[in-house]
């Protein structure tokens, strides 16, 4: 990236651009988690979907030459992981939070194992739209390179909100999430709805992973994801289980993550590693502020284990 002389304005533009670029995987993972949690189950293992999605998407894109085929396979990988999670959680006495941790360790180990051959090769990247050509400034141009997946996510968020509100299946998901007994009385197969919700959520998280390896940072390596999958769970709480708020929260988190690199690009390297902790500190601060000892969160599905 070229040196910029725009100072503080440059930092702000870089943070805004980063909000979209780094926020996109957050958006997909949080929408997936939102869907799963709406059905009354929490999936802490989406980190695995993210890393496995990144690895499988990259591998398939490299082998087939098509980045979009990679995205599809990443989603399907996430679906399979969601299926495993759902089948384990259906068993008696099996704790969904512990299963999430186990899936996280299993999925990252598996991705590192299978992904070894793909660390060196270069796969095709996902296309992006250059919306910044009107500007002379390379900083603005870089910030307005918008990836197609972000636009898909931008459409998906209101679509999911509509789905919960108006679609028959959306009502099923919400009923199962609010009250198992009510759902049973309506003749809904609770485990089946939860399984589909976890699988669909896993699909979206897998796609979020493919964005990491196929667009930004744009290659496969073992340090690709650093807790974004779990941060998405906190993000969904912050977003009050509302898909539209997930969109805004993802942009906020993306911006916080972009702060360190943006400051570094204008020559402020002091405390670079501390700025990298910004998204984690922000998440923690948000959780401390929004949690309450007295009551459950407003909007929290009634069947969910208390988080």
């Amino acid at each position: 990236m070229p040196e910029s002389d725009m100072g503080i304005i440059g930092v702000i533009i870089a943070v805004l651009g980063g909000a979209i670029r780094i926020g996109t995987p957050f958006l997909f993972v949080s929408l997936g988690e939102c869907l799963t949690e709406k059905s009354g189950r929490i999936n802490l293992g989406l980190e695995a979907n993210l890393v496995m999605g990144a690895m499988s998407g990259y591998g398939v894109a490299y082998l087939s030459g098509s980045a979009w085929l990679g995205v599809l396979v990443a989603g399907l990988t996430g679906t399979v992981l969601g299926l495993i999670h759902a089948m384990l959680c259906q068993q008696n006495r099996v704790n969904d939070i512990a299963v999430g941790i186990a899936m996280m360790l299993f999925g990252t180990g598996l991705a590192f194992f299978l992904g070894k051959p793909f660390i060196q090769p270069v796969a095709p990247r996902l296309p992006s739209l250059s919306l910044g050509t009107w500007s002379e400034s390379p900083v603005v141009q870089a910030a307005l390179e918008i990836n197609v997946l972000f636009i898909i996510g931008l459409i998906l968020a209101p679509l999911m909100a509509w789905f919960f509100k108006n679609a028959k299946w959306g009502l099923f998901v919400r009923t199962v999430g609010e009250s198992r007994d009510a759902a049973l009385a309506m003749g809904i197969n609770v485990n089946l709805v939860r399984m589909y919700s976890t699988m669909a959520g896993g699909f979206l998280a897998g796609i979020g992973g493919s964005f990491l390896s196929l667009y930004y940072p744009g290659s496969w390596n073992e340090g690709l994801s650093s807790g974004q999958g779990l941060m998405a769970v906190a993000l969904v709480i912050f977003a009050r289980w509302n898909p539209m708020y997930c969109l805004y929260a993802s942009l906020l988190f993306g911006g916080a993550s972009a702060l360190g690199p943006a400051l570094q690009s204008v020559g402020i390297t002091q405390g670079y590693y501390l700025f990298n902790a910004a998204p984690y500190v922000l998440t923690l601060a948000i959780m401390v502020i929004t949690s309450s000892k007295k009551q459950r969160f407003a909007g929290m599905p009634g069947e969910m284990s208390n988080i």
Partner: protein, 352 residues
């Protein structure tokens, strides 16, 4: 069969069967990737327990695992799922190194004691903070502990790659050394460092505390039914924070050992995944501090065999991670079996 004996047998038999099932699934997995499963399993055994040399390797890795496992096991007894062992280990090790660098030159025994104390206080407070956030603000401890892991690693990188960096360390950036005199030596003429004794003693001590004292009993009541504990007047908040502190202190000592017995300085290898593997150890041991000892040795062995698998079978170093992941998932799935197998259930006697 009495109720007690049935429960004990059940809690040994189910994990053992789950381990065998995991090994079978792992064999299928490595067969698909083109290796001979029997040879790979044999390789894991040889790398872990096949010779005195590999035993030493295994035990060196088991020591920190015992301590990080306690960081998940103790809070689990009071009903919290904490996965912050990695962060507590990093913070404990970092502050132990700071203490050692600062006090270098004094009596080595005093320096080591102060380093351990620093690890206990910082690691313990790190996890106690998660317990306090849970109790006072109802912040989910699983998520907060993971976030704090990343924050701990950021602090470590900031200091070790910044103001603490010894310019002489080029390839593996590290802090200044704590001084040769202040390091924990090996046991006898083995290559096993004294940290193993720390691990064993702390596991046994905490088992006694959790199983044979009023404090341990109170923790089990809170873990069993928090409402009942509140109604019976137990100081729930204090118990939660103290239990988290003890777990974090154990993980902090794991960091002290890595600094004082292995590296002699603080560096990024403090963040080598012992905290995450410790979670698995705790769940496999069903959060029992005594059971953690053999499980940590088993897992230490699996980790120790990683190098041999890479050299002999050309398998990636993540192979042992896959095995650990499979074990974790099968162990959790096996939870569904408890109380369902007739053979372990006491005969219902009708002499009432």
């Amino acid at each position: 069969m009495t109720r007690e004996l049935g429960k004990l047998l059940e809690s040994i038999a189910i994990p053992v069967v789950a381990l065998l099932v995991s090994l079978f699934l792992f064999s299928v997995f490595v067969s698909f990737s083109g290796a001979n499963a029997f040879e790979v399993l044999g390789g894991i055994y040889r790398g872990a327990f096949g010779s005195w040399f590999s035993w030493q390797n295994t035990l060196v890795r088991a020591a920190p695992l015992m301590l990080t496992a306690l960081c998940t096991a103790l809070p689990a007894r009071i009903g919290l799922i904490v996965i912050g062992g990695e962060g507590a280990m990093v913070i404990g090790g970092l502050f132990a190194a700071l203490t050692g660098i600062y006090l270098d030159g004094l009596n080595p025994l005093l320096v080591i004691s102060c380093m351990t104390l620093a690890g206990v206080i910082t690691g313990g407070s790190w996890v106690a903070a998660m317990g306090a956030l849970k109790h006072y603000r109802n912040v989910n401890e699983t998520i907060s502990s993971l976030l704090l892991n990343y924050i701990a690693i950021a602090i470590l990188s900031f200091l070790v790659l910044g103001i603490l960096r010894d310019p002489a360390t080029l390839n593996n950036p590290s802090s200044y050394p704590i001084g040769e005199a202040n390091m924990i030596g090996d046991i006898g003429d083995t290559s096993i460092h004294g940290g193993l004794l720390f691990g064993l003693a702390i596991c046994i001590g905490l088992w006694f505390l959790m199983r044979r004292t009023i404090y341990g009993f109170a923790v089990d009541i809170v873990g069993g039914n928090i409402r009942a504990a509140q109604i019976s007047g137990l100081p729930v908040g204090k118990l939660i924070i103290l239990t988290c502190f003890l777990g974090g202190a154990a993980a902090g000592i794991a960091g002290v050992i890595e600094v004082a017995a292995v590296h002699g300085r603080a560096n990024l290898s403090l963040n080598a995944g012992y905290g995450y593997a410790g979670i698995l150890v705790a769940f496999l041991a069903r959060h029992n501090p005594i059971a953690i000892i053999p499980v940590a040795i088993l897992l230490g062995g699996i980790r120790a065999s990683s190098g041999l698998l890479q050299r002999s079978f050309d398998l990636p170093d993540a192979t042992t991670l896959v095995l650990q992941g499979i074990i974790f998932i099968v162990i959790l799935a096996s939870e569904a079996l408890y109380g369902r197998i007739k053979w372990f259930q006491p005969k219902v006697t009708s002499n009432a």
